[in-house]
């Protein structure tokens, strides 16, 4: 009888430890404010601002300068899916429920953004002006659009890049 109680105690103890470790890990990974809609809108705004900066630099002939913005988009892209937990649809969100109906497609389109941004970064680092211009010319459709078209409610009027 005593042995049995002891065993139960050991099991209980190790489970409590496991629970504690799990909680500790999750606090460590807290990435933002706790509001995923605000967090992802902030992240996507910065993606948009980096994209506007890319366009300005290309216009000014500063091809190499594009690399830092493209790398920012590539790194941000890796966080996108984690900012769309199931059921995180509020009145402020422009996300479509299709995100969660077609999760693998959503994941693939976030990965596509990461890859395209990585390509642009590498072309900029190589100072290959022609390649950068070609990628930039199709980026809106091939990188932003493949996710925004199926998975985002269109904005009232398209946001204009700030000059």
């Amino acid at each position: 009888m005593e042995l049995r109680h002891l065993r139960t105690g050991v099991i209980l103890g190790s489970l409590v430890a496991l629970a504690a470790v799990g909680c500790a890990t999750s606090t460590m990974t807290t990435l933002g404010s706790g509001d995923p809609v605000a967090d992802r809108q902030r992240l996507m705004k910065n993606n948009g601002a980096n994209w506007a900066d890319i366009q300005n630099k290309v216009k000014a002939g500063n091809v190499e300068g594009v690399a830092v913005n493209a790398e920012a988009i590539a790194l941000h892209a890796q966080r996108i899916t984690s900012l769309f937990p199931e059921g995180s649809l509020t009145a402020k969100s422009k996300a479509k429920p299709d995100i969660w109906h077609k999760w693998p497609e959503f994941q693939a389109s976030a990965k596509n953004l990461e890859n395209r941004a990585g390509t642009l970064r590498d072309q900029a680092l190589a100072k290959d002006a022609a390649a950068v211009q070609t990628t930039v010319a199709t980026f809106g459709r091939d990188a932003c659009g493949t996710c925004h078209t199926p998975f985002r409610v269109p904005p009232q009027q398209p946001a204009q890049p700030r000059s």
Binding site: L15, V21, M28, N46, A49, N50, L75, H76
Partner: protein
């Protein structure tokens, strides 16, 4: 006796549920990039450095507003720094000091400070006030980068200069 066992079982059951729930939360959000945290954090900090260099180049060109995007990029990626320093992640390639884990609360607050300084720079830039932005930028290296790099990073062999905008004239 039976009641006692039932109670133990309920307790066990709820602890198991808690354990599963918490490790699930931990795992789904812990997944970061590659399996090599040292490479990941060096990539992240390189982007921080490049964003800062871009901000400085813009200031030199008199473009205060353009600094905002770089400062916000830094503020956003600052939130990823801590999870990229799990205990024991010290390799030959890493420039991290063991003090990071010995003084974790200080490390945490210096990362938090970095995010706040980046937001301060962003907000100054958004006002388009060049002089005000320059004031924040002037202190940024010491106040934002330095408060973490001085205590927690092995100094590089020579101070990294921001990438020159023009190659040095060699003739």
């Amino acid at each position: 006796m039976k009641l006692r066992h039932a109670k133990t079982r309920i307790l066990l059951g709820s602890v198991v549920a808690l354990a599963i729930a918490s490790s699930a939360t931990g795992q789904s959000t812990t997944k970061i990039w590659t399996s090599d945290v040292v490479a990941d954090r060096q990539r992240l900090m390189k982007l921080n450095g490049a964003s800062w260099a871009d901000a400085q180049a813009k200031l030199k060109a008199g473009n205060a507003e353009g600094v905002a995007v770089n400062a916000e990029t830094m503020a956003l990626i600052a939130t990823q720094i801590l999870p990229l320093f799990p205990e024991g992640s010290l390799t030959d390639k890493s420039k991290a000091k063991p003090e990071i884990w010995q003084k974790w609360p200080e490390f945490e607050s210096s990362v938090k400070n970095y995010a706040m300084q980046a937001e301060k720079l962003r907000d100054a830039a958004r006002t388009k006030d060049l002089a005000a932005t320059e004031v924040v930028a002037k202190e940024f290296g010491r106040q934002a980068c330095g408060t973490c790099h001085t205590p927690f990073r092995v100094p590089p062999p020579q101070q990294q200069a921001p990438a020159p905008s023009q190659p040095p004239a060699t003739r």
